[in-house]
Amino acid sequence: MTSYVLRRLGVSLLILLGASFLVYQLVAISGDPLAEFRESNRPNREQLMEQRTALLNLDVPAPLRYFIWLSGAARCVVPGQCDLGRTLQGQEVTAALSSAIPTTLQLVAGATVLAIVIGISIGIVTALRQYSAFDYGVTFFTFLFFSLPVFWVAVLLKEFGAIRFNDFLADPVVPLPTVVGVGLVSGLVWAVVIGGSLRRRLLTFAVAAVVGGGVLWYLGATQWFRYPGLGPALVVVTGVGIAVGITTLLAGLQNRRALYSALITVGLGVVAMFALRPLLDRATLPLIVVLGVAAVAAGVLVGRLMGGYDYRQSMKVAGLTSFFVAALVMLDRMMISWPAYVRLVRGRPIATIGSETPNLSDDFWILGIDKFTHLVLPTAALLLISLASYTRYSRASMLEVMGQDYVRTARAKGLPERVVVVRHAFRNALIPLATIVAFDIGGLLGGAVITERVFSFKGMGQTFITGLTLQDPNPIMGVFLVVGITAVVFNLLADLAYSALDPRVRVKS
């Protein structure tokens, strides 16, 4: 095992060396860093050219210049000694990268995690309802999302998600056609998702249409969009919904102890919502993290105290429920700060450019909302295009597993469908996905060139593209190095994870 990992790492190092040499030569012929001076007629032209030549060692031929760069890059093995050269403006590339990486991670990590969770869920449901209207609908939309150019989606989102939505927020009146339309769409979606006999479909359609349209009308009529909030009632209702949902998935509703421990957690959460209000008003990030951990711990404890022979299930259910209820409480508190934030940004909350409002210093909640309003559109754009592949992969994987003999055996010995799907099929369907997920996470640092550009995020992709347009070699190489290393490492991790998850696959050692 160790020898396998070492050998893989050695080979990866050689590949990286080869690729970086190739990329360095490509960068060298992709532009001329002196071009801007050649065309200028400034008096000190010669001197500027000499300066830049000295800065970038342009007097050395590119194949040899690579080794100068490499000797600097090789020092990165020792922390703090890194020398990736300077940008044309004289900034250290390492400094530029260390400010770009967090921005990129904020943007891409959220979108990737959401895409994985939502994509896999949709994929599993379509696999369980193969050849249903829902399956066909989802297939069509995944192909559609596959086919969308991201810059096109991003510009559309900017127009309709930000500019028009902000206009709407200035005067939040929901017109009647919109209410009817949203109601019909929600009815249609739920009727198709839940399925069943025609009678059941019609019933689902009617209920979902009335509820969907009604909620929207109510929110519009009560000025909710201007002064949003959940309030204790909505937290309780949503919390109970979450508790029942998680219990159904993980333990089955007939496991009363699990259900009760989840419900008790919801009650505790609502109590905490009032008890902790003064504390939450002065929240900081560490405090939120501590509170979150405490919430999960409390849930687990409730589950343990409920006891029973399978107390582990109760612990799992209550812990998860507690996590979501805590998130609800946080969301509620954040919504309270929303009107103040809207006043701060002069009534146009959803941002179209940048990763944060410049020079904004306020409490935790305002800053949190600020992050959210800046991230929501680029995240949506990225989510939309990466959702499709996860849906397709997980659908195919789940279909494959559901056809296996052990699933038939599980059914034959009388296990409930929930156990068959969640415990026997779902877990095994995740194995091939692990590789793809690891691979995608490895590519995270590469950023999202186009999305970052459209939304003016100063991340890795933007650094790369700016380097290309300014014909500035060092930042390009810096981004390439970071991306290349993470890609190679996560590729290795993907292989190791696969062999750890699936005992039939052995690594050659």
Binding site: M402, R453, A487
Partner: protein, 364 residues
């Protein structure tokens, strides 16, 4: 089950059902593909788009039937608003409107479609060719050749496609030919890996041993015996490659590293006009719609091809089994609730590699 049915059963069984007749592999694939509604509709739509793009503004010296060229600047009419009417259908003077200097946007969109399609087709062909050759050689010969070729593939995977685009833009000025060739030279990696995997399993099969014993040369075994068996994987992946190639081309053009003026492409049109979204939204809608239509069609065709080539996709109709084998009817009917889980796809859909997907990264 009544006795009359029992009596007629032997007569029925003598008549072999249509789909059990001895059909060649190619005929089976064609039959399944023609049965895939989405793929057929997409094929028709794509053909229409290609025909429209080529005949309207013509190719080379031929000017086509449309009255304007994409370079002409007629007088700006009605603020350049599109004159296209669907009910009753009429094209009008400028169906897709005019851009800010008055150029006919229909002609420009058609020219952009031509260019984007040409680049797509070239990228698909070239990268499929390279990928198949490298994958086939490394999968068939194994040994040091495989190691060298696969490590080379790993190396090319982490070279950012954007950089290649920038190199082209700086040195060659973004012609169709050079763009297609160079993008083809960088996007073959996924295909090579897939073909290698297929060859690794196929070369251990009995028919390869038989061919070798009969004295067939390596070249003959690769091209006559193994390659036809891998054609499904190759076709499907090439289609998906093309659908991602069109997005890649438009993205590159959008970033300014693709097709350069005076020529245009769909991505370039959007890039040039994105600032005008609030004043002239049609400049933004039409090229985008064409990208989506083309890409969607290619994806559906790929899906249809996958269904046609993958025998595991074949649905077993319980009704037919019950009709032809009356005695087994009860058993099959009992299994029917689980019938929907049979005949499932094994190969995950979608592009198989990070760098050819509709990805938004630097291609690494």
């Amino acid at each position: 089950m009544s006795t009359t049915q029992q009596d007629t059963a032997p007569d029925d069984s003598r008549e072999v059902p249509e789909d059990l007749k001895g059909l060649s592999q190619g005929a089976l694939v064609r039959k399944r593909f023609l049965g895939h509604t989405g793929a057929i509709v997409s094929l028709v739509v794509l053909t229409l788009v290609v025909l429209l793009a080529i005949t309207s503004v013509g190719l080379g010296p031929w000017h086509g039937w449309w009255q304007y060229r994409w370079t002409q600047t007629p007088v700006l009419m009605d603020g350049g608003r599109p004159t296209l009417q669907l009910f009753p259908f009429s094209l009008g003077e400028h169906p897709f409107g005019q851009d800010s200097v008055g150029r006919d946007y229909f002609a420009m969109t058609m020219r952009g479609t031509q260019i984007s399609l040409a680049v797509t087709a070239m990228v698909g062909l070239i990268s499929a060719l390279i990928g198949v050759v490298i994958g086939a050689f490394s999968g068939y010969f194994r040994g040091w050749l495989e190691t060298v070729l696969m490590r080379f593939t790993d190396m090319v995977i982490i070279v950012p496609v954007l950089l290649v685009g920038a190199v082209i833009a700086y040195n060659a000025g973004g012609g169709v030919l050079i763009l297609g060739v160079l993008l083809g030279l960088t996007t073959w990696t996924g295909m090579a890996r897939l073909v290698r995997g297929d060859f690794l399993t196929l070369r251990e099969r009995e028919f390869v041993d038989a061919a070798r014993l009969a004295g067939a040369s390596d070249r003959r075994i690769i091209f006559k015996h193994i390659l036809p068996n891998a054609v499904g994987v190759i076709t499907v992946n090439a289609t998906l490659l093309m659908s991602s190639a069109i997005l890649l081309e438009t993205s590159l053009s959008y970033l300014g590293f693709g097709i350069t003026p005076p020529d245009t492409s769909l991505g370039r049109l959007i890039s040039d006009n994105q600032a005008a979204f609030s004043t002239r939204p049609w400049l933004f809608w039409f090229p985008g719609m064409f990208i989506v239509i083309i890409c969607l069609c290619i994806n559906f065709i790929g899906d249809g091809l996958r269904d046609a080539f993958d025998p595991r996709q074949r649905k077993i109709s319980t009704r037919r089994v019950r009709e032809t084998v009356p005695a087994a009817g009860a058993v099959v009917a009992g299994a029917a609730p689980y019938g929907r889980f049979e005949g499932t796809a094994a190969r995950p859909d979608g592009p198989s590699d990070g760098d050819v997907g509709p990805s938004d990264g630097t291609g690494a």
